[in-house]
Subunit: 230 residues, 2 copies
Amino acid sequence: MDAIMLLGDSLTQGGWEPGGFAQRLAYRYARRMDVVNRGLSGYNAEWGLEVFRQVFPRKDQKGAQKVKLLVIWFGANDACLPPKVQHSPLPKFTENMNALLTLVRDPTSPYHSPQTRLLLITPPPFSALQRGSILASRTPPEPLDRDQATTRAYAEAVKAVGEAHGVPVVDMYTELWERAGGEEGMGRFMHDGLHVNADAYEILYDGILDAVKEHYPELHPDNMPFVFAP
Amino acid sequence: MDAIMLLGDSLTQGGWEPGGFAQRLAYRYARRMDVVNRGLSGYNAEWGLEVFRQVFPRKDQKGAQKVKLLVIWFGANDACLPPKVQHSPLPKFTENMNALLTLVRDPTSPYHSPQTRLLLITPPPFSALQRGSILASRTPPEPLDRDQATTRAYAEAVKAVGEAHGVPVVDMYTELWERAGGEEGMGRFMHDGLHVNADAYEILYDGILDAVKEHYPELHPDNMPFVFAP
């Protein structure tokens, strides 16, 4: 079985929730491709780059499972405000995202994989209301650790990276923000102000399948036979 | 990442449903072990044996993902009545289940894997009321294709195979039958008379974690660190 690999932070790790995007993809791609979840709660793109080097098959690696689709979703932690250790300045974030794509696409890279299709996801908005009240209730109370304009800038950076490399992007930031009608409505897509719920994951899942249908139709489940006979 | 491999029929394939046992295990074991679902709708143990030979790593295979826990769940299709093509006579079913365990445990087997812990699941009861009314509504109407005493005998066979090999068994047949209070109540655990729903999968998930805790505590998620640093 070939694989869809999901690389990201807690938003990806939590994709195994009932209704999460990993669960939905695994169900839909059953008997066609495995879903390999390499989401690590708390990670930013810089640390994700190190994870990539340990989990993505090197081109000289024999017998490794083939990654046909790599979905990369970072930015939510990179965008948190200093002094949070996960903060990564915007130029550094862009550099790391570029590096991830280059590792897969550059023929001189030890991870060069022409068979791997790529997909980027923008970080979602957070809910300042939910997140703010959770932080304010701590002892001692903590100030808000994110800023919507900053997170939006990281989402824009992902779109720019995708455009520069010709890689499709599912723009979760804009999707959720517009459907929520801005800040006031964001709560309905979130568990806790940061982590999206099954309603948001459904939008992401639909966005991924739409992007696959448009850009990589050979990987759409409708176009893939079962590996073992029905 | 090491893996939990699930080998079985549609009950296993459907484990990727929201609330299914594959989804629940994947969520619980996130960052500890992958869940590799090799459930194939419609398969019996005879065909499962052929699948095993293609999906389980051979001992001479370098770089393959290690299967630390193999969960085998057949019998529901084997137990259907002739002339259904999936029917497999009880002695043949027992032979195939024995063969699966022997392939993993016998030092002369090309699949010998001392690192793989084994777990068997008994086939669940079906709901004669639900299944009967679905078949009766077809054009032309079809007779019931299963018999509760027969399915129960296949469940007993799985228990006997487990006992003979010293392999723990999660007895889904008895668990569901007793909780349902017999035939009348079976519908509450099923989608369509054959395929179990999220309530039944929760019982299975709990049963698997209990068995792991008792027999293979080193594989219980509470006892496994994250592969990558928190």
